[in-house]
């Protein structure tokens, strides 16, 4: 099994896997970085994006509309959730925040199960992206190739918003020191709402663009949530570049380990996380100051 074609294939596959993890994790990490709230409903947001998109897809048969519907719906859910619930928890202890987001996650998952059942739903890839593409070293699903492109574009867009706009500047300032931003006369609560919306949208967007790959079920966010935590820990909590780097590292670890022994793919992921926690407790690109 261990030969060059397999290695190159796994390297490439790790890249695709990692890109998606990076996108979902970046949503989680900017919310935590800015608001200080670890959103345990992030996996449920990923799932909601898939279902909202699927619903739009069954109505319109258009993948583009499905993606828009999935992203916008989850952004709205994020905004409403922040307005009605999360903002009352900013000053409360971390365990309360964990409990309320964990609870919301369960509510979202079970509500979806109630309305749509446990049977998985499929969203077809756009007609032009069905099939396989020869890469020389292996055949790769065309849609997964496209997904790599879509995710890279989304990550660049997120980067531009965070690093090249005034709002992004305020958000980043909020990550560093929200009290100071508040003192400068900027309505930090409006920014918090916006960040929560954008973070949720990243998960919702990932949920719908990933739907043609894995098909969706109410529990689809559960395992993703665990992986994104690992990514965020490896990359550095609150760091957007850290989420991207962590995502790629996680993707490669999962993929390349499977070449030697598939049973250890996820074990190695946690080994890597443990190593990072021991050697660099704030993550590869995180800084102690953010705490």
């Amino acid at each position: 099994m261990i030969n060059w074609p397999t290695f190159v294939s796994q390297l490439f596959n790790g890249l695709v896997l990692g890109a998606l993890l990076a996108l979902i994790s970046s949503g989680l990490t900017i919310i935590y970085g800015t608001l200080g709230v670890l959103n345990l409903a992030h996996g449920a947001m990923f799932m909601l994006g898939g279902y909202a998109g699927w619903l739009a897809y069954t109505q319109t048969n258009s993948f583009i509309i499905a993606v828009l519907a999935g992203s916008i719906f989850v952004m709205l859910v994020g905004v409403v959730m922040e307005r009605l619930i999360i903002r009352h928890f900013y000053s409360r202890p971390h365990e309360d925040q964990l409990l309320v987001t964990f609870g919301l996650g369960i509510v979202f998952v079970e509500a979806v199960r109630f309305f749509f059942g446990s049977l998985s739903k499929t969203v077809s890839a756009p007609a032009g992206l069905v099939g396989i593409t020869p890469l020389g070293f292996m055949f790769y699903p065309t849609y997964r190739l496209a997904l790599l492109g879509i995710v890279v574009v989304a990550l660049i867009a997120l980067y531009l918003v965070l690093y090249r706009t005034r709002i992004g500047m305020v958000v980043r300032a909020g990550i560093e020191d929200s009290a100071m931003v508040d003192a400068l006369g900027i309505d930090v609560y409006k920014i918090f709402m916006l960040v929560f919306g954008i973070g949720a949208m990243a998960a919702g967007f990932a949920g719908i663009v990933n739907a043609p790959v894995v098909s969706i079920a109410p529990d689809v966010g559960e395992s993703i949530l665990v992986q994104t935590f690992v990514v965020v820990v490896i990359g550095g909590v609150g760091s957007f570049p850290g989420a991207v780097l962590g995502g790629l590292i996680a993707g490669e670890i999962i993929s390349i380990t499977s070449m030697f022994n598939p049973g250890y793919s996820y074990v190695m992921l946690f080994v890597a996380m443990t190593l990072v926690l021991v050697l660099r407790p704030y993550g590869l690109l995180g800084t102690a100051a953010r705490e």
Partner: protein, 451 residues
């Protein structure tokens, strides 16, 4: 007068003593109240006996996955159990074909089914059953759809001395090295699946073929893969070119499929189950592995064809416990499918049939033994008497508590051949069970004590 005073005093003190005794008896009432049910010294209290059978209702409990990877299959099982309980309580003709002595209810008591979501996690299932024992004095446990749960509940049943009938459990270990006196399995398993589907594959595809395996990383996956691989390699020199082991609940199978794509295999033998099977098969299609390689499903998954779409299961060989078209062959299957369809508006998959049968068999054993005392019921099972089921005549093997029952080989129908939207599989062969089973002690079964 003085002379008469003494006996009066004596009488008084006797009365006082009687009073004291009465008070003492009242104090002990909790324990003494049940003694009439524990008729004799050979029926001492154990587990929830006799407390669980003292009222006019007996409780039984299922811990079944209603969320997670096996949720879809769990819901189907639960419906099977519910239907069986309904049939026990109203003395349905179908149930009476299996358990002739059941009138309305069981030994004059109504049966009440409790259920909790196990999410296919062993710890969760054991905790739930412990709670049902404490709070509801259940006299029978069921549940699984993951052999990890079945094995955990096996040992728990033996410790607590409460009977356990497995739900879906395909591991060889359930009635092999992890077998216990207090547990019974109705359905087929790795070894019988392998020995049933093996000859069909060899006949169809010949010798010296290369196969890639996909295996979920727990007792079910490992034992099924081992049995299937051993059959094919010993009898037809098939070669396992790769075995991709993945954790239960995997979403993205790309890294495993990348290895398989590069392995040179001609067959994809997929042991994954539930949603893992659906996702791995769909993704194998995306990678172009299907239809390039031939898919084989050695341990059939309820609703697989419905979820992947019949295009992906067309022509696929699978071993299964039950498929609804067996109604053409077995009268009891017809009765079961009709009753189930009437109540739930779809045709039952094999999980529901297994659930129904396992409760019906339990009702049979209790009513034949005419006792709720667990060892009496176990000994009734162990008589190995042949009885009617939805797949013809069957009996239990006393040495390992495994039902000797046929394994059904099915082949996926192409969409154009389907008569309606549940007509996914055609039955190719019904292989009698006796010849498919290993020797009772081959997998290290030692049942343990009755009391």
């Amino acid at each position: 007068m003085v002379g008469r005073q003494q006996p009066f005093d004596a009488l008084l003190s006797r009365r006082a003593m009687l009073k004291q005794t009465a008070a003492l008896t009242a104090g002990l009432g909790v324990t003494l109240r049940f003694t009439p049910h524990a008729w004799a010294a050979d029926h001492p209290a154990m587990g929830t006996f006799p407390a669980g059978t003292s009222g006019d209702t007996v409780n039984i409990a299922a811990s079944v996955p209603r969320t997670g990877t096996y949720a879809v299959q769990g819901e189907d099982e639960l419906k099977g159990w519910q239907l069986a309980v309904e049939h026990i309580n109203n003395g349905d003709p179908l149930l009476q074909k299996i358990a002739p002595k059941v009138k309305k209810g069981l030994l004059g008591k109504k049966v009440n089914l409790l259920a909790a979501d196990s999410a296919a996690k062993p710890n969760q299932a054991v905790q739930e059953q412990q709670r049902f024992i404490n709070e509801n004095k259940i006299i029978l446990m069921t549940g699984s759809t993951s052999s990890a749960v079945a094995v955990a509940l096996n040992h728990f049943a033996q410790r607590e001395k409460i009977l356990y009938v497995t739900g879906i459990s395909g591991s060889n270990d359930t009635t092999g090295k992890d077998c216990v006196r207090y547990s019974f399995r109705q359905n087929f398993y790795g070894e019988t699946a392998a020995n049933a589907i093996g000859p069909v594959l060899v006949k169809q595809f010949g010798k010296n073929r290369k196969a890639a395996f996909m295996t979920p990383d727990y007792t079910y996956g490992h034992t099924v893969t081992k049995s299937v691989n051993e059959y094919l390699s010993k009898n037809a020199s098939w070669q396992m070119v790769t075995n991709q082991v993945s954790p239960l609940g995997t979403q993205d199978f790309s890294q495993y499929l990348t290895n398989i794509a590069n392995s040179g295999a001609e067959f994809l033998i997929n042991v994954n189950w539930g949603r893992d099977a659906v996702l791995s098969i769909q993704q194998a299609k995306q990678f172009g592995i299907l239809p390039k390689m031939t898919l084989v499903v050695p341990y059939q998954i309820p609703f697989l064809a419905k979820e992947t779409g019949p295009e992906l299961t067309a022509g696929v060989y699978a071993a299964t416990d039950f498929w609804w078209t067996l109604e053409d062959k077995y009268p009891l299957a017809k009765m079961f499918v009709e009753a189930f369809y009437k109540k739930y508006n779809y045709r039952p998959e094999w999980g529901a049939n297994n659930a129904y049968m396992s409760f019906a068999i339990w009702a049979r054993m209790v009513s034949e033994a005419s006792s709720f005392y667990p060892p009496d019921i176990i000994k009734q099972y162990e008589k190995g008497i042949t009885f009617a089921s939805t797949v013809g005549d069957v009996h239990f093997r006393p040495q390992d508590h495994q039902l000797v029952r046929p394994v059904v080989i099915v082949r996926g129908k192409a969409p154009k051949d389907m008569k309606h939207n549940e007509d996914y599989w055609e039955v190719v062969e019904v292989v009698p069970g006796e010849s498919l089973m290993q020797k009772p002690d081959a997998f290290g079964c030692s049942l343990g004590e009755y009391t």
